[in-house]
Symmetry: C2
Subunit: 180 residues, 2 copies
């Protein structure tokens, strides 16, 4: 069976294909508007818009970086913060707060025509640190997962993908697909 | 001539009526989705959505609080930050930055059916301070306009409205309407 993955990023599609082998995952490159608000609501809206266009089973994926001291913010807005401030100043947002812990949260919104979207969540705890390593994926250099001594930015792609928030959500999605 | 002001806030309508006397300003209460992104783009989208529904000349208004040290952020997202963090912790976001200056920015998006929206901007410079005074309007207690010794939260409604970013944008809008 075919599933459409709505994303502009072919690497994400490659990753999903490695985990979900029982489905034929095809990339569908489409720009979806992003609303303000809670991540779950944003993913739900994106999945709805995607299925209205494609009219076939499809899913979207979305990542947020949630600082615990900021009650989950910047969350969804992290990409705008990094664009506007740079990594070092995003780290400095926590100067006034003792708690530097954070969650990397990935969500998949899956939707079939005529049905409500299903939201699946993967989450990794970690710490916000001064940037270290490469910045291929936005906030990688400021996020150090719990139990590791490297930031995502210092890890190889293989190290990073193993037990990442993104891998977690794709594995959960695979389980969901099996049980349907 | 009649103009529709799309807002859920009757106080804003009252304020606009005091300044724009040549038009019959009528409130149109409608929930408009807010996209992520730059304030001007958000206002443009809201004005477009409003005119598509109302099909008559109408305008929307939008306010952002832009910290200069954060290159304009939280900006549009200030309401989410205050909801999630509270005023004191929003102030603490600047602990790591010497520059506490900020801009209060109001924008009006005016649109006629079949035309592109016109964006009008009013802006007041000030400083982000520890919260002082009443918090009827979100961030009032942490914004102290340049040349004043009170925050918006410590001012009477009259003091606050005189030469505010909101008054400025409505006056500019009035001038725009005259010149058409």
């Amino acid at each position: 069976m075919k599933l459409y993955f709505v994303t502009s990023n072919p690497n994400k599609v490659r990753e999903a294909r490695l985990i979900i082998r029982d489905y034929d995952i095809e990339q569908y490159d489409m720009e979806l508007p992003e609303l303000q608000g809670e991540q779950e609501e944003i993913v739900r809206q994106k999945a709805k818009m995607a299925v209205e266009t494609i009219k076939k089973p499809c899913f979207v994926e979305d990542t947020a970086l949630c600082f615990n001291a900021l009650n989950g913010l910047p969350g969804e807005y992290i990409k705008h913060f990094i664009e506007k401030l740079g990594l070092k100043n995003v780290y400095k947002l926590l100067d006034g707060f003792e708690d530097k812990s954070a969650k990397a949260v990935a969500m998949i919104g899956y939707c079939e025509p005529g049905k409500e979207p299903v939201i699946i969540r993967g989450e990794i705890n970690g710490t916000i640190v001064m940037p270290r390593g490469e910045s291929n994926f936005g906030w990688d250099p400021i996020f150090q997962p719990d139990g590791k001594d490297k930031t995502y930015g210092e890890m190889t792609e293989e190290e990073k993908n193993s037990k990442s928030h993104r891998e977690m959500v794709v594995i959960k999605f695979k389980e969901f697909l099996k049980k349907r």
